[in-house]
């Protein structure tokens, strides 16, 4: 089977079953890692992703439906969404539409955070947008529950950095739209999380 996409930790195949297209996400072995670590990551991330896709949906966040999971083979079969990654759309969307979609992205992250969950990798690659402007979050392999202010701060820090590194010309628009959306859902904690974001940005470097 030809891979449809080779990501950092997974290979995605498209297959047809029951008259529909299904995505099979497989976490292959990485021979350059210590076997113990590799096996632990592939197993825990596969089962975590499967669980978190459902938890997120229960929090009101659209995610692809899971058809089956095969932890032993480190694979998940899920719905193939009809849309594009937000990453591919940023440069071509009209400003007001881009703002609207990014505000929605912020809202979805707000819904996760309000429910005590962090996404773990909230980049524009992990947001799928369909032609009608509906959006989904995907790739929950790094998601975690029992989120603290620190974890939420890291999540927003990662989102902001994705805007900075990948969409530098739109960074300010994207960040402020995402925060607008986030604030409408998770208002009581927004300021606290944001001040943590500033703190996190300064860590890990010489002072």
């Amino acid at each position: 089977m030809e891979p449809w996409n080779i990501g950092a930790e997974s290979i995605i195949y498209r297959l047809e079953q029951w008259g529909r297209i299904i995505l099979l996400k497989h976490r292959p072995q990485k021979p350059y890692l210590l076997k113990d670590i590799d096996e632990f990551l592939r197993t825990s991330r596969t089962s975590r992703e499967c669980k978190m896709l459902t938890v997120a949906r229960n929090l009101g966040v659209p995610t692809p439906m899971v058809y089956w999971i095969d932890v032993h083979n480190h694979s998940i079969a899920m719905e193939c969404l009809q849309g594009k990654q937000l990453k591919q759309l940023v440069a071509e969307l009209a400003a007001d539409r881009l703002q609207k979609i990014t505000r929605e992205f912020g809202k979805l992250i707000g819904l996760l955070h309000r429910g005590g969950m962090v996404h773990g990798d909230p980049t524009t690659s992990n947001v799928i947008v369909n032609p009608r402007g509906n959006i989904w979050l995907v790739d929950f392999g790094l998601a975690e529950m029992n989120a603290t202010v620190e974890m939420k701060g890291v999540d927003l820090h990662l989102m902001r950095r994705a805007f900075e590194t990948t969409h530098w010309d739109f960074e300010a628009i994207l960040w402020s739209a995402a925060l607008d959306g986030y604030r409408t859902i998770h208002a009581e904690e927004t300021e606290q999380v944001l001040s943590r974001v500033e703190e996190i940005r300064e860590r890990g470097r010489y002072h």
Partner: protein, 330 residues
């Protein structure tokens, strides 16, 4: 005609002077690392080390390159980021030389210099760079006129983590090479906290747990092995995310920790999986040294960058992505 640049590096524990010509030849590269008998690096003691040995390091670099004062066309110095006292000492030496020799002064970003010297050595045009040292853990790539930090540590740098662990078990600074030697005698892996967040990672939890392993009686070799495998595995993952994300076809490993052979093996495996070329910067150019500052100074000078002494204040928190990379097209 080729011009000659004297580059001076002194952001942290090492002071270095390098002489490089504009056709890309490293004519000399001398450095001296401050290594206290015990404990870590105190910024003030390190800066005293720099002012004590600075003049002789520069003299040696000039002698080895067979040049004298009048051959120097340019003085470049590490303007940041780094430890304030060390940067100030280095900047003072550079300003004095620039005025005394009456040649232009160039302020160089230390992290950018690590990338540029790696590109010079490897011939890479547009790599994803894994920059790992005592004070830095960054995944950097060029995008939109800047070197942008795609991933980094959320708490302590990898070298700092290795040194702190080493100190705990009685090793001298820098501990990395001793940890690597010990790890080769290991028989068992002990699981340690593995913390990757998107393209960032965190080492503090792993460090605490590693110290606990030793105090619980795990052999030093096994503890060192477990630390290396876990820490490097995390680094490999974020490097891999950056490659998958940027789709770049070159992976460059640089910084003092690039000397580690196990890390090199792991990252070359990552590059292979993504059909990317891999290069580990050779030991003399991997750590903090003056040649990288000199070479980057030449690139900046050729692009018309100038710095007056009056404006040459140090930048201890200078981020990698705060400088327009004027010498790069595309």
């Amino acid at each position: 005609m080729s011009i000659i640049c004297l580059g001076i590096e002194g952001t942290a524990h090492s002071f270095g002077a390098g002489v490089v010509s504009s056709d890309g030849h490293v004519l000399s590269n001398i450095w001296d690392m401050f290594s206290p008998e015990e404990g870590g690096i105190h910024p003030r003691e390190a800066s005293r080390h720099h002012s004590d040995i600075g003049p002789s390091v520069i003299r040696n670099a000039m002698e080895e390159a067979s040049i004298n004062n009048k051959d120097i066309d340019l003085v470049a110095f590490s303007r940041g980021p780094g430890l304030g006292p060390c940067l100030r000492t280095t900047a003072t030496i550079a300003r004095t030389l620039s005025l005394r020799l009456d040649v232009p002064l160039i302020g160089v970003n230390h992290c950018v210099a690590h990338i540029e010297i790696g590109c010079l050595e490897s011939g890479f045009k547009d790599p994803v760079t894994v920059y790992v040292s005592g004070g830095n853990t960054q995944i950097i790539a060029y995008a939109g006129k800047r070197y942008r930090t795609f991933g980094e540590t959320l708490d302590i740098a990898i070298g700092n983590m290795l040194d702190t662990f080493g100190r705990e078990v009685g090793m001298r600074f820098p501990a990395g090479p001793q940890i690597e030697r010990e790890a080769s005698n290991a028989t068992n892996y002990h699981q340690l906290p593995y913390s990757v967040k998107g393209m960032d990672l965190s080492y503090s939890g792993m460090l605490t747990a590693a110290n606990r392993l030793v105090s619980e009686g795990v052999s030093l070799a096994d503890a060192c092995f477990s630390v290396q495998e876990t820490a490097f595995g995390m680094l490999a993952e974020i490097a891999e995310r950056a490659i998958a994300h940027t789709k770049k076809k070159e992976l460059l490993l640089t910084g003092g920790v690039a000397r580690n052979n196990r890390l090199t093996d792991i990252l070359s495996g990552v590059a292979k999986r993504h059909n990317a070329a891999f290069h580990r910067v050779t030991p003399p150019l991997a750590g903090d040294q003056g040649a990288m500052i000199a070479w980057t100074g030449i690139l900046q000078h050729e692009a018309g960058d100038r710095l007056s002494v009056a404006d040459s204040s140090i930048l201890p928190k200078w981020r990698t992505d705060e400088q327009d990379i004027v010498w790069r097209r595309s």
